[in-house]
């Protein structure tokens, strides 16, 4: 009885009595969620256009951030380093296309998946070899990212919003908006959607799959770099971050592997629900449920909607 009380009644009483705390928790969840969304977005882009489930996406996030910090520590100015990192992301996209996708075209998806696992470990080894394995601090100030916090005196308490979190949320919004415009309004964006729909037909109208692959891997790389910078600014930059990056998996299960809006909504749901669960229900089992709760949620979800919230709209003619 007491347990039921603890699960179904107490947390809601706390929410009601301390609304400022609730707002704070929701905000934390929202920010974590936007970052999960961005990682998931990278997965979705690549999955849609090349049918590859890119296991290395989380590592690319860390690799991007690590290259930025690493280059800066070599004495390169922050913004130059940022541009170099964009170049590195392009080189990576090209390399993946040239060494993996091009060679393995027409193979089973599982083989391409294995290749991305290989890519994952290659990037870890390469990153650590070049920039060193110890955790680093993101060059927040040098990039001109704000570090303070806004404190709001509302709802009978103090709600504190970190400026870097606001920047992260805005960046995520801009990225998503930019991608939406790119997909819907440009020639190459249309080409990308065409490839996602039907590889062969896309080839028949003269769209080169190789170019499209480079474009999507590059786009996913840019998204990963932005995510890495934001995330790195909130904690350290090290390959331990990739564990967090794997949270994109439950996001994908929730949102569907092929839906961009699904990745965004899924990310927000996962982010907010894990923070809520941690804060209000965590103490019942001794805390730190944040690390597994998203997977549990995803499992529940699989029972009821295996195609995800926004799984590809299946077109059926009647």
């Amino acid at each position: 009885m007491e347990i039921l009380h603890g699960i179904f009644i107490d947390p809601f009483i706390t929410m009601y009595e301390l609304p400022d705390l609730l707002v704070q928790v929701l905000w934390e969840g929202f920010v974590a969620g936007t970052l999960y969304s961005l990682i998931a977005l990278g997965f979705v882009l690549i999955f849609k256009a090349s049918g590859v489930f890119n296991f290395a996406q989380g590592i690319i996030v860390v690799f991007g951030a690590l290259s930025l910090v690493g280059l800066h520590s070599l004495g390169i100015p922050a913004f130059v380093a940022l541009f170099l990192c964009i170049g590195i992301m392009f080189a990576l996209a090209w390399l993946v296309e040239f060494t993996v996708l091009r060679r393995l075209v027409n193979q089973d998806p599982i083989i391409l998946f294995m290749a991305t696992i290989g890519l994952n470990y290659f990037l870890i080894g390469f990153g650590e070899g070049v920039f060193g394995g110890e955790p680093k601090t993101m060059i927040t100030a040098e990039l001109g990212l704000p570090t303070g916090a806004f404190d709001f005196d509302i709802l009978g308490g103090l709600v504190s919003l970190q400026q870097i979190d606001i920047t992260a949320a805005v960046t995520a919004g801009v990225m998503v908006g930019g991608l939406a415009v790119f997909f819907n309004k440009t020639r190459i964006g249309r080409g990308l959607r065409a490839v996602a729909d039907d590889h062969q037909a896309a080839q028949s109208v003269g769209i080169s799959l190789n170019h499209i692959w480079i474009v999507v891997w590059f786009a996913a790389g840019i998204v990963a770099l932005a995510t890495g910078v934001m995330w790195g600014a909130r904690s350290d930059v090290s390959f331990a971050l990739s564990i967090v990056a794997l949270k994109a998996l439950p996001v994908l299960i929730l949102g569907g592997f092929t839906s961009i809006s699904g990745a965004i909504v899924g990310g927000l749901i996962i982010g907010i629900s894990e923070k809520m669960a941690e804060f209000y229900w965590g103490p019942l089992v001794g805390g730190s449920i944040e690390s597994w709760f998203p997977y549990f949620l995803a499992l529940l979800f699989l029972w009821f909607r295996p195609q995800g919230l926004f799984g590809e709209k299946i077109i059926e003619r009647v």
Binding site: R190, R193, H199, A202, V205
Partner: protein
Amino acid sequence: MSAETLQSNAAADAAPGQTREPVLQVNNIEVIYDHVILVLKGVSFEVPKEGIVALLGANGAGKSTTLKSISNLLRAERGEITKGTIHMNGKLTNDLTANDMVKLGCVQVMEGRHCFEHLTIEENLLTGAYTRGSSRAVKDDLEMVYDYFPRLKERYKSLAGYTSGGEQQMCAIGRALMARPSIILLDEPSMGLAPQLVEQIFEIVKKLNQEQKVTILLAEQNTNVALRYADYGYILENGRVVLDGTAEALRENEDVKEFYLGLSSEGRKNFREVKHYKRRKRWL
């Protein structure tokens, strides 16, 4: 009449029609899928400039494979041209990629339409002009396609996946036109469409051929319709060309009447006899 004499007769008939320079020359090609399955066993033919040529034959005769080996879409299906050459406007094209072919002006409309389901009709048409960049001319061509297919203009905002089979076929042909091709490879445009609609589509194809000067290479099972619109035909069986001639000559040919048009000198037969007869008498 044996196949050999027929072939030479047909060639003689065709002589005047074939004086135009060929856009496409396919010379004795052999195609193997997956390194083991031999699908084409030496196919040769020519497509004259601004002509309509039909490749005819039953399921599995190799029509689609022939078209795909020309447009170089074969590699995506693990197929490979192992022998022979294909020339377009005198240029050897065996080793080019599919998008090189589109840039050279050779576009395939694939069997089963293959529209981009999640794109609108208009976006589908615009992807057709992918290789041309975006320019004023593309917009004009969009209008030109809408003039030929007014139906598409009505539905320009619908997702292609929700349109009817006929509309999808029009969309696929329109999309190919947007690349401003000099030759269109049309694979089985009649598939799954009502006879009236088939007729309508062939009318438009004929019009495109005459007005836009697009050369057409057509693969069809529906021999009857194809021979009414084409100038010249090749009949494929089992990966080989077994007969060719002008459309007129083929329509009058006894064997074609019997095997492909369902007519014969003794009038229509019942199905059991037809099957029995066919099993015994094959060219190969």
